[in-house]
C-alpha cells in the first residue's frame, strides 16, 4: 500500500513519498510492539509492503493486526498524519503525546530551544536561567517542556493556549516529564492568562499561526485536513499574531529579557525585524534573523533593551 503511493503525494502537494511511508510503517510496527520485544524488526516495511511476511518469529503486539491495518489505511487514504496515528511525536529528545486538535510540533521549532540554550549559557549573570519564561500558543507543550528542562532550579515556564485540547495535552505531557512544579499551563489567548505578578518575563518564545489565510487550502493534506486551523491561520498576511506578540514582548519582557518567534520565512522575518526596529522605539534590541536547517530565514530573536 505504501509502495503504491510512489511519489504521487509528493507531486500533488509535497506530501510523503513511499520511502518515507515505509519508514513510518516501520515505526508504527515498532510502537505497537509489546515491551521487551526487539526494537528493530528487520525489513518490516519491505516485507509487509510486498505482502510476503516471511518472518517466522512470533511477536507480541499491543494492538491487534486489524487495528494496525485500519490505522495504516487511514494514513494512506485519508492522509491522517502519522503522529496522530501513533499518538506521539518525537521532538528533540522528547516524546510528546499529540492528538487531533493539537498542532504536531515541527522539527524547525527545535532550534528555538537551541537559541534559548545559547542565551542561558552566555547571559548567565542576568539570571535568565532562574527567571520566568513564557511559551505562548504552546500546542503540545513542546517548547515549554524543553525549556523547562534546561532552566535552573528556580526557573519557571508558563505555557498558554487558547485551545482547551492543547491545554489538556500539554498538561499531560508536562506530567509525563514530571515538570508540574516548573511548567504552569493556562488557557487563554497569548498574554491574557498571565497574572499581574507574572509580567516581568525573562523570556518569551512562540510558534504562533503564521500561514496567510488564502494559503491554507493549498496545504499538504496531512496539515489542511487534520491539523487545527487555529494553530495555522495567521490572518490575511499571516502576521496578525506575530505582530501582537512583538508588541507584547516589548512591554512584558524585563530589561535584558530574550524572545524568539518562528515565522513563515524570509518575507515575514524581514518584515517583523523591520517593524521591531522602526516601530517599537528601540525597546527591542539585538534583533537577529536566524535560518532553519533547510536554509529558510525562519526565526526572529532578540532582547528587551536594558
Amino acid at each position: 500500500m505504501a509502495t503504491s503511493v510512489g511519489s504521487k503525494f509528493l507531486d500533488l502537494d509535497n506530501g510523503p513519498d513511499s520511502t518515507l511511508l515505509h519508514r513510518e510503517l516501520n515505526w508504527l510496527i515498532q510502537d505497537s510492539l509489546g515491551e521487551g520485544e526487539p526494537a528493530t524488526l528487520s525489513c518490516a516495511a519491505s516485507a509487509s509492503s510486498s505482502g510476503s511476511t516471511s518472518s517466522k518469529k512470533v511477536v507480541k503486539l499491543r494492538t491487534c493486526l486489524d487495528d494496525l491495518y485500519r490505522l495504516w489505511k487511514e494514513r494512506i487514504e485519508d492522509r491522517r498524519p502519522f503522529q496522530y496515528l501513533v499518538g506521539c511525536e518525537h521532538w528533540r529528545d522528547l516524546v510528546l503525546s499529540v492528538e487531533e486538535g493539537v498542532l504536531i510540533p515541527r522539527p524547525e521549532t527545535e532550534l528555538i530551544v537551541d537559541f534559548v540554550e545559547d542565551v542561558l549559557a552566555e547571559n548567565y549573570g542576568d539570571g535568565l536561567k532562574e527567571g520566568l519564561w513564557a511559551d505562548l500558543g504552546t500546542g503540545s507543550g513542546a517548547l515549554a517542556i524543553a525549556i523547562g528542562r534546561i532552566l535552573g532550579c528556580n526557573g519557571r515556564v508558563i505555557a498558554t493556549d487558547l485551545s482547551p485540547v492543547a491545554v489538556a495535552v500539554t498538561e499531560y505531557n508536562v506530567k509525563r516529564y514530571c515538570l508540574q512544579d516548573k511548567v504552569k499551563v493556562k488557557q487563554g489567548s497569548w498574554f491574557e492568562p498571565l497574572e499581574e505578578s507574572e509580567v516581568e518575563l525573562g523570556g518569551i518564545v512562540s510558534n504562533p499561526p503564521y500561514i496567510p489565510s488564502d494559503n491554507i487550502a493549498g496545504l499538504q493534506a496531512e496539515v489542511s485536513k487534520h491539523e487545527p486551523i487555529l494553530a495555522l491561520d495567521g490572518g490575511a498576511n499571516g502576521m496578525k499574531d506575530l505582530l501582537h506578540l512583538c508588541n507584547g514582548a516589548a512591554s512584558m519582557l524585563r530589561p535584558g529579557g530574550f524572545f524568539a518567534f518562528e515565522t513563515n520565512g524570509e518575507q515575514q522575518s524581514q518584515f517583523l525585524a523591520g517593524y521591531m526596529e522602526s516601530e517599537l522605539g528601540g525597546r527591542l534590541v539585538d534583533i537577529k534573523i536566524e535560518s532553519d536547517l533547510a536554509g529558510i530565514p525562519r526565526f526572529v530573536k532578540g532582547f528587551k533593551a536594558r
Binding site: 509535497n14 518515507l20 510558534n207 518562528e262 532553519d292 529558510i296
Partner: protein, 496 residues
Amino acid sequence: MLSFLLRRSSSFEQKPQFCFSLLASLAQVQSQSQSHHFSSSIQNRSCFTPGYSCLGKRSDGFCLSLIPSSKISPGVSCSDVDSVKCVRFCSSQSQADVDIVEPSTSDGLTVEGIIAQNWTVLGEDESDWRSHASAIAQSIHLTKRRLKWKQLLFKVKSLSEELDKQDLWDDPVRAGKISREHGFLTGKMNEVKAFEQELFEHIDMIKLSREENDAEMESEALKALLEMRRNMKEKELEALLSGEHDSCSCFIEVQAGAGGTESMDWASMVVQMYKKWAQRKGYEVTIVDEMPGEVAGIKRATIRVEGEYAFGYAKAEDGAHRLVRCSPFDSANRRHTSFSAVAVIPILGEGFSRFQIKESDLRIDRFRAGGPGGQHANTTESAVRITHIPTGITATCQNERSQHSNKASAMAVLQSRLDKLELARQAQLNAQHTQSLSENSFGNQIRSYILHPYRMVKDHRTNYEVSDADSVLEGDIDDFILSYLSASLDKDEDGL
C-alpha cells in the same frame, strides 16, 4: 581438602594472609622474604614449590619439613633452595627482572619444553595428563603469539619505566592514560603467566602424587588440568581481540559499487547479513543512515553495532565483497558480478584521544528538505547532514524520529569518521600502517559470494570457504571472521 588447596593457587593473590600463615608455619627461614613472595607474585615458582611440598606432606599427615622440596627438585639441597630464593627475591624487586625468570615445573619443564616433547594431544575425555598438558601448552603458546608476547613485555617494561618517572603526574591526562594502559597490559601479561604457573603446578602435583601413590590426588590434578584445557580455548579466542580498539562498538558502512540495481540489491543483502550477524551475537543494531536505490536495494547505508568487541570482530569485514549470481533484475537473467564496499569504524569511548571538532568548522543542514517547511509541512522526515568543512567529510542521518536525534546521530558518525582519519594519520606517523585502516576501496577484494553456477563463499585472504552461501548471507560469518583474525595474527611468528 585437596581440591580446595588446588584452587588456592588461582586465588593466591587475593588471599595472601592465608598463604602467609601456611608458609610461615612451614619454614621460618622463608618468612623474611615473605613480602617479596607476594608482591612479585605468581610467576615465581619458588613461591609455590614450598606450598606444594607442604600440601604433599599434609595429605600424609606430616608437616614442617622441607624434605619434600628436595624431592621435587632433585639434586638441590634445602639450604640451596633457600639461598637461591633469597637471591632471587632480592633481585626481583623490579618487574623487568622477574620477567627473565622463565616459569617451569620443578624439574625445569617449560611451555616450549612441553611442546618440544611432542606429546600426542588426545580427545578431552582421555585422561592422559601429557595430552592435556600438551594441549594447554599449545594454547598458551598461541595465546602468547596472538598477544604479540615480546612486544607486550617490552611495552609493559617501557610503561613501567614511564610510571617510575618523577615528573609523570605533571601531566595528569597523560599519566592517567599511561597508568591505565599499564594496568591493562600487565593484566593480560599476568593472566598468561598465571596460566603457565598453574599448568606447572598441576604437572608437579601429578608427578608428586605418582611418587606418593596417591590416586585421589592424581585424579584431582588431572581434573584440574582438563578444566584448564577448556578454559584456555576461550583465552585463545579472547587473545584474538586484543587490539587497542577491539572492545569498542562500531559503525559498519556499506556502499554499492557500480552496476545499478543489481549492485544496490547486493549492498542491501550485505547490510542484512551484518544486521543478522550482529543480532546473533547479541549486539544492538541501529540503522543510522540509509539511501535507498531507485528500484530496489540501497546506494549506501550506515549501521551502528553496539556491544563488547563489536569492532574487534567486524574489523575483519573491511574491504570489498563480490557477488556473482544470475540477476533477478536482468530480464535475460544473465550472470552478473557486483561489488559492495564495506568500511568498519570504531566508536572510540572515553579515554581515547579523539579528534577535536570545532563548532565553527561545521555546516549543518536539513537534508532533502523542500518546500516552505514550518507549519506548511507535516513530515516525519527530519534528515540532517553535517559537513566538516576542513576535511570535506560529511555524515547524514535520517532514521531517527526527531531532527535533534538525527543531528546527534550524524554527529557521532562524523566524530568516528574523523577519529578514524586521525588514527590513520597517527598510524602513518608511527610507521605502523595497519591494513584495516587504509585499503578501503573496491580494489581490496576480500571475499566472493558465488551463487551461480555453483554455490560457495570464499575469503581471498585466508582461502577459507564454505558451500552453504545462504547461511553466510543469513549472518553466519563468525568462522570467516575468526579464520581471518587468527590468520592475520598467527602468521607473525616473530612476535613471541
